[in-house]
Symmetry: C2
Subunit: 202 residues, 2 copies
């Protein structure tokens, strides 16, 4: 149900630009544009400036590839981290989730993606060479692969596992199994099958 009313060009351009944000369709984009213009022009200015500053000032941390305003980010510079452990994640959001579990005190490497041959994302696009250099710094003794348990995440983990093992590193993968607090009746069969295969002594 697209409107028939003519929209002024600058408004249309703003709506189109907002639609490039992930998860924003034409209806949300329109609501956002109206809101910024009518009720929050100060917020609009702020967003405009924040985009500019972020694009100019942010780079990738030389060690973990996360966004950083310094050559080496605060996490990698921290002296309270176990430098012998390196956890490989697909995205910064995944890194945040692992951090919020309070179960890990090593360092990270953020791939900023996963292998997706159909989308043209291969080992070169993900700069696997940089990860290898990072992992072979002589301090890291174990690399924990924490890519997603999706087809693409698993492929990425498999490929990286081979590469890293060939360099003599210990490689591990997050455990698969029944989620904490869940009832077996409502867990999918694939998960149950994995939990059975990987059962442990009790």
């Amino acid at each position: 149900m697209d409107p028939q009313l003519p929209e002024p060009a600058p408004l249309k351009a703003l709506i189109d630009a907002l639609r490039r944000l992930p998860g924003v369709g034409v209806r949300s984009a329109r609501r956002m544009a109206y809101h910024l213009l009518q009720h929050d022009p100060a917020g609009a200015r702020l967003l405009q400036q924040a985009i500019g500053t972020a694009l100019t000032d942010l780079r990738h941390c030389e060690r973990c590839n996360n966004f950083s305003s310094e050559p080496v980010c605060a996490t990698c510079s921290s002296t309270e981290r176990d430098t012998g452990l390196l956890c490989v994640v697909e995205t910064v959001a995944d890194q945040h989730m692992i951090e919020s579990s309070h179960g890990y005190h090593g360092l990270y490497y953020v791939l900023m993606g996963r292998l997706a041959p159909l989308e043209g994302v291969g080992p070169d696009q993900l700069q696997f060479r940089r990860l290898l250099e990072r992992a072979c710094d002589g301090k890291v003794h174990e690399v924990i692969l924490a890519t997603n348990f999706t087809a693409e995440g698993e492929t990425t983990a498999h490929y990286l596992g081979e590469l890293l093992r060939s360099r003599g590193l210990t490689v591990s993968r997050l455990a698969r199994g029944v989620p904490a607090g869940s009832e077996l009746e409502y867990v999918d069969a694939g998960t149950i099958a994995w939990a059975l295969t990987e059962r442990r002594g009790h």
Copy 2:
């Protein structure tokens, strides 16, 4: 579950700015920021420019109060519209919905809000005087109040109705009743009560 990882200042500023968009929480804002920085810096530049242009070039149409890049918008300048009918809506989105019904060929006035005394939005903030001037141009003979059927929308319609009638204008309101295509069993009692009160000869 807020992350413990330190975030570089420009990234944090971008996430905070994105959170000012309606319907965007911290998780979505973070996802948007990562997406723009990692996968769509061109889109980020585009958004930055679009905000700037929209803030600079857009104004309110002198006649209908909608966003426009000209003093009078394309809809109000159209010669194919019935200048005797004026439909008052709360937002541009509402105007789009009415337009997409293909049932109206008059002109519009967009309030850009509704009376909300608790939020400090009164007749002055909504510039009711401008609407009155517009409605009293000598051509308009009927004003259709199409504010929402919420408490605030109804209050706005009631208030505007009194004002406009006192200037000798015919005032009408969108019909209330059972939505098209719906089964009575699933319609709320308030709607049924209205549909009974406003029943018409058949």
